[in-house]
Every structure is written in C-alpha cells, then in structure tokens.
C-alpha cells in the first residue's frame, strides 16, 4: 500500500499530533506515505465564492498525485470531501474534465487524466487494511477506555461520492475502528451533529453554539475522550472548547483525541511518541488511565 500523503492547510501547522500519530501507525502497518512539496489548499474554502475556482484547486492537487503515480491519502475530512467529489466528477464526466482541463492548462500548464482516487485515513484502515489485520496488530488492549466517536460530516457525505462507504444516517466504521483496540465505543444521541466548523469564519457566535450539545452529552456519559479524525472538528471541540462551554461550565474539560493516537496506543506506542503532549484539553481521568497502560507494559 502506497499513497501520496495530502496534509492540507491545517493539520501540519495546528495538529502535528494527528500527523505524527498517523505517520507512525501507517509505517507500522506497512502503508507507505509519500510526501510532496507541491500540494496546496484543497479548494474547499472557495466553494461558496466560486465553484469553478474550488474545482480547479482540487484538480491541481489531483494532478500532483497523478505525477507521483499514486492515489491520495488524507487526514482532514473537509479536504477528503472536496478532493473526493472533484475526483468522482472529473473521473466520470469526460466533458467536464475537458472543460476544466482547458482552464487548468492555462493556469498551470498541466492536465488531469481522470485516474486518481482519494482515501481518508480511517477509510484506508477500515477498507484496505481491514479490521482483521488491525486486530493482529493490537499489542495493548484498551479495555476499560470509553470513547465517543465523532464522524466528520465530509468523511461520509455527500454519500453519492463515497460509493456506499459507511452509512450517513447510522455511521459505524469509526466505532468499529475504536472497538478493535479493545476500548468501548459509547453510543449517544448527538452522534450525527455537525461541529459547526463550516460557519466559524463567517459567524463565530453561531459556530460556537453548535458543539455544545455533543460535548455536554458525552461528558454526562462519562467518557474518557471524544475521538475524531478531522482538524476542523478538532478546532471546534478541542481548541474552542473553553469558549463553547464558557456559559455552561467554566471548568468543563473533555479530552479530544485523534483516532490514529488511539490506535497507536493499542499498537503499543507510547503517548509521548504519539504526540499526546500536544492535545490541549487534559483530564486527570485520562492521564491516570494512560499511566496505568504504560505501567502494565511488559
């Protein structure tokens, strides 16, 4: 398994813990991630401004992967949605591809051949590696940990571009990926709620009101951490957690982890090498469990 690693704008600056743990886990699983200096913004931010600009930006990234002869491996779900959608429409619609290629060639001198596919890390783990192979790699069971899975909207939607992967109304892949580590994936009512990240740039007040219900429900459920796989969701649930919960409980603390960090722990890596020191919200409960996990290692 060999992919072009597409980091996007946010992860390599704000979520080095996600990148670090993703790279370590991939390496251990024999997934080769190839870096490129040529990738840029996926195009998502321009969708509301100019649909064609966004599509051209996405196509430019697909061309970078085309030149590497590889499919794309993503970490951010917003990038995943944008690049997947672009690859599906451009790969299938030859007339549109021609049209876009005329403009792309004018701007960059290159054309897209319609061959590249896009895969989010969790989808690669679920589909290409598979739960059985992952189970073989579990060295330290996370039995006793309780996590709440948050599915980034663009990990699964719009469902027509994800070719039947998972179920947008009852998603289960991230829950299964959590359970393979021995941890419990807690079921909860607000599971499908959007983080609000899409509104943050336009209206902070509206955006910051959106993560509250989920954070409250999960804290009441007594989980150890919210587990996600997207830097935008992380901005809303972790980076802005204090502002989101200010009026409800100024001392509110619910740790947020990236799935690759959870999997890394179960594969026997230490919290330190998985970048846990960069997770902003700490809790005594989680720290105690992590220390116990480390102490129990042979």
């Amino acid at each position: 398994m060999r992919y072009a690693l597409y980091l996007g704008c946010t992860v390599p600056i704000r979520n080095m813990n996600y990148e670090l743990s993703a790279r370590k886990v991939a390496e251990r699983l024999g997934i080769e991630l190839v870096d490129s200096d040529q990738f840029g913004c996926c195009g998502y931010p321009m969708k509301g401004v100019n649909h064609r600009t966004a599509l051209l930006m996405a196509a430019r990234n697909l061309v970078v992967a085309q030149e590497m002869g590889l499919d794309i491996f993503t970490l951010c779900t917003a990038c995943t949605g944008t690049l997947t959608e672009a690859s599906v429409v451009l790969n299938e619609d030859e007339a549109l591809r021609q049209e876009v290629n005329e403009e792309l060639e004018k701007a960059t001198g290159k054309r897209y051949n319609g061959q590249v596919k896009v895969h989010h890390i969790a989808r690669v783990l679920y589909e290409d590696v598979g739960l059985a192979a992952l189970r073989d790699q579990i060295k330290v069971s996370l039995n006793g940990f309780r996590f709440g899975a948050h599915y980034g909207c663009h990990y699964l939607k719009p469902s027509e571009v994800f070719e039947g992967f998972d179920d947008p109304e009852a998603p289960h892949t991230l829950d299964e990926l959590i359970e393979v580590t021995g941890a419990e994936a807690v079921q909860y009512n607000t599971k499908l709620l959007c983080c609000g990240g899409g509104v943050l740039a336009v209206d902070e007040e509206v955006a910051l009101a959106m993560p509250q219900a989920k954070l409250q429900e999960l804290a009441q459920a007594g989980i150890d951490a919210l587990v996600l796989a997207c830097p935008f969701c992380d901005i809303m649930y972790e980076y802005n957690q204090r502002r989101v919960m200010r009026n409800v409980d100024p001392r509110f603390q619910l740790p947020v982890l990236f799935y690759s960090q959870v999997l890394g722990l179960a594969m026997g890596m230490s919290a330190e090498e998985l970048g846990f020191s960069l997770n902003r919200v700490k809790s005594k409960g989680l720290a105690t469990k992590l220390a116990a996990l480390e102490a129990a290692k042979p």
């Binding site: 704008c9 321009m46 051209l56 960059t108 719009p158 947008p168 509104v199 209206d203 219900a213």
Partner: protein
C-alpha cells in the same frame, strides 16, 4: 407585505442554471431540510427551506444581500434526507456564488482569497512552524503559491481579494 416590483421571476432560473442549483424547481417545501439542520437548532436566522421559498418567489435582492445564506455549515444532513433530491448544500453554494458575482462577499472570504494568492494555502507557514516540525521529526513544508494564484486569476476570483497584490520585486513604493 411583498410588493410585486421587488420580485424577480427569473431568479429561480438563474439559480437553476448555476452549477449545484439545477434541482431547485423540484422542491415541494416539505421542510425536511430545516428539520434536519443543525444550524437551525442554534439560530432562528437560518432555515434552508425558507431560503428556497424566498428564491422561488423571486426575492432576489433580499436573498443575495442577506447574511443568512452564509450560515450553512455544509454538513449535508439536508442533502441526504431531501425526498426531492434538491441537493440543498450545493444549491446554497450556487446562491452564494451568484451573491459573490453581484458584489456581496463576506470580508472573511476576501481575506481567504488573499491568503490563497500569496501562500497557496489558508494558513501561512513561518520558519517557526518548520522548526517545530523538525523538532518532532516531521518534514518541512514549503508554500507553493504560484499555480494557485494563476488558478484564482484564470477563474476570475483574484479580484475579490481584500488587499492589493503583494508588491512585485521591481517597484513597490
């Protein structure tokens, strides 16, 4: 009271001709979209069904100059549930694209256009960031703005920026 002079009966066709807006005429205003919308839960200012109703009625100026069209979080909940396959998330994007062409651009997006033009990405990479990356054993990232800036130019978006282009080497003042 809506005066008929404020109505533009062609607005719905304009939307239907915009990529993403094609299915607007299939809406039978059932309200499933609004009932599914997480933005609606936190603010009354937003309702996808109402936006579609207003658009079908021809309230062009009111829709295009509104703040509320920019409140969609693009979660696709409505998109998955709409019984008429209206593709609301893309439809709202189509309306936004028309609004931008008519000069209604939220300041945040003007800033983003400039960032993309100058850095090729939304978050600038400083030396400090690459030093931190090196400490963690992660490879350095280099900005690649040239092709992105050309794309912004070719697709006519570059002019929406908030600031003048970065000064060229020869003469800046």
């Amino acid at each position: 009271m809506i005066e008929s002079t404020q109505l533009d009966p062609n607005f719905k066709d304009e939307i239907a001709n915009e990529p993403g807006g094609e299915h607007i005429l299939s809406c039978f205003t059932c309200g499933t979209c609004t009932a599914s919308c997480p933005v609606r839960v936190v603010t009354d200012r937003y309702s996808p069904r109402k936006i579609i109703r207003m658009a079908l009625l021809g309230l062009k100026e009111e829709v295009l100059s509104s703040d509320f069209i920019w409140l969609c979080s693009a979660c696709y909940s409505c998109h998955e549930r709409c019984p008429q396959d209206v593709r609301i998330t893309e439809l709202i994007n189509a309306i936004k694209n028309i609004a931008v062409r008519e000069g209604h651009v939220p300041p945040a997006f003007r800033v983003q256009v400039d960032l993309l033009r100058d850095h090729g990405r939304l978050i600038e990479i400083g030396d400090y960031d690459n030093e931190r990356r090196a400490e963690l054993g992660l490879p350095a990232i280099h900005e690649q703005p040239a092709e992105v800036a050309e794309i912004l130019k070719v697709s006519g978006t570059i002019a929406l920026g908030a600031a003048a282009p970065a000064p060229a080497e020869d003469d800046a003042k």
